[in-house]
Amino acid sequence: MVLALIAMGLTLIFGLLDIVNFAHGAFYAFGAYIAWQTLLSGGNYWIALIIVPIASIALALVVETMLIRRLYGQDMKFTLIFNFGLMLVIVQGCRAIWGKMGKPFFVPPELAFSIDFGIISYPAYRLFVLALSFTIAIAVYLFLKRTHVGMAVRAGIQNREMVQALGIDISKIYTLVYTIGIAIAGIAGLVAAPLFGVYPEMGMEVLIPAFVVVVIGGMGSFHGSIIAGILVGQVATLPIIWEPRIAQVMIYVFMAIVLLSRPAGLFGELGR
């Protein structure tokens, strides 16, 4: 589900801003480090759950208004390389501030137990992650479908000029969507910290699988990214039962199969 969270933000940003956010994984690592710092400073997981989105939003606002904004409408390869550079800066920044070594991160004590389902027992924390991810997904979905601002976002994906012609300040919408995407990435980092630990390269490792999710789901398709996120999670974990060594490779094979049968991804439209 962590993958689905990251993919969600990626696809939102791509859909509206037309930007492949190579720096997305770096924001994810940033979120995890902020969470770690919160715990170090005497806070707990639940305080981090409030602080991480705030810090992510703050960083996103700075980056968007100062840098990303200048990229709109530029050639795709430039925006791509730009964000690659941004990623290097953020990742190395995390390294410089918090050190090269990974940090341990424990499951919040309130959730450090397993729930017995009769056949299998499941760690409560993972259930919490699942519930939180679905809550976020539904919240964003409702925001897009039910609110006026969300409508403007969807309209902007369809036809930017028209939205502007209607008197809506599209650049504010851009800022908003970028910030939402980054905030979700930050939360994903927090959520992932107890599962995988906190280390500078964590974002780089998760970024490419997240791209795969976005490609499989169809770029720019919000529900596509969620469904593909769950699917890819299954594809990556099921082979562990019989052949763990190919698990990491499977998602790319899965991607190749999807692309061969549906070049636009599961829920994408051709011509993007």
């Binding site: 492949v20 390389i81 550079g85 800066v89 795969v212 190919i246 790319y252 692309l259």
Partner: protein
């Protein structure tokens, strides 16, 4: 003759004989660089970036997975010389055959990945290539059939003999050997660029629709361009394996795909020799900055963002050309 005219004549002359100038510069280069080994690095990454630029600069397609081919070239060359698992071991006398195997492996995989990924354009294409890059990375990390050495890589790649001389290799001779190989490769790239085939690629970059309407099978041209670019990247990788006598997984990590993009951009992807200039500048910068601070990635990242925002993606060579034209 005024000074200005002299300059102009010089510029014209340089423009007419680029390969000659390149040859002279390459011969001088190691003597003004920190070390011969650094200069060899520059050659190898220069070739890698030039191979990459067939696709980016000439055909106008951005790949984010070229480390795949660099890595395959390196591993392909190393595999048969080191710890071959179930693979027959080449004796060092036939060591250069391993180089050919590495290049062939990179080329074949480039053809296959090209067939799969060129079905989509633009962003999608870039993401699919980086995904395949990671796929190979994960395959190689698993050390299948004991071929790749997993996380340890392959250590102790011997240098094959030349004309019966076994211990010919010193940093100096090795540089000039690599220089000759890479000079020939660049000459071939130059021929490709100026050939009718290269012109079609350029046409695809400018307006693919129009080229297709003229009756060219653009899909096939793009596939050939991708494969060629994989071939030269693989050659650079194979030489790199001999250069370090070692192949590690970082030759295949997707960060290297990003690095080659930075190198190409830094030198100027719209020019033929730009990637080579980029490699020299990049390695000098990287060494220079990392001597001062261990956070060289911050400087590098900032520089990349700066190139995009301030110069609209123009690299060193393009900026130099613009300055010269302004002088005129």
């Amino acid at each position: 003759m005024s000074k200005n005219e002299q300059l102009e004549n010089l510029y014209e002359w340089i423009n007419k004989h680029p390969m000659l100038i390149l040859g002279i510069l390459l011969i001088i280069m190691p003597w003004i660089m920190p070390s011969f080994s650094t200069a060899t690095d520059m050659l190898i990454f220069g070739l890698f970036a030039m191979g990459f630029n067939i696709l980016l600069g000439q055909t106008g397609i951005i790949s984010f997975g070229h480390a795949t081919f660099f890595g395959l070239g390196a591993y392909g060359a190393a595999m048969f010389l080191v710890k071959p698992g179930s693979v027959p071991r080449l004796t060092v006398q036939f060591g250069w055959l391993a180089l050919v195997i590495g290049v062939a492996l990179a080329t074949i995989i480039a053809l296959i990945i090209g067939m799969l990924s060129l079905r989509r354009k633009g962003t999608y294409f870039a993401l699919i290539t980086v995904a395949f890059n990671m796929m190979f990375y994960f395959i190689f990390i698993q050390n299948p059939y004991n071929l790749t050495g997993g996380g340890d890589g392959l250590i102790g790649i011997p240098t094959p003999p030349i004309l019966g001389f076994d211990s010919w290799r010193t940093p100096v001779t090795w540089y000039y050997f690599c220089m000759i190989v890479i000079f020939i490769a660049v000459a071939i790239l130059r021929i490709i660029q100026t050939s009718p085939f290269g012109q079609v690629l350029k046409g695809i970059r400018e307006n693919e629709e129009r080229v297709r309407l003229l009756g060219y099978d653009t899909e096939r041209y793009k596939l050939i361009s991708f494969t060629l670019s994989g071939l030269f990247s693989g050659l650079a990788g194979a030489i790199f394996a001999f250069h370090l006598n070692y192949v590690g997984l970082d030759t295949m990590f997707w960060l290297l795909s990003g690095e080659v993009l930075i190198i190409t951009l830094l030198g100027g992807f719209r020019t033929f020799f730009g990637p080579l200039v980029g490699a020299v500048a990049y390695i000098l910068l990287k060494d220079g900055i990392s001597a001062v601070t261990e956070n060289w990635m911050i400087v590098m990242g900032t520089m990349v963002m700066g190139i995009i925002l301030a110069f609209r993606g123009s690299g060193l060579l393009e900026i130099a050309e613009k300055l010269i034209h302004k002088e005129k």
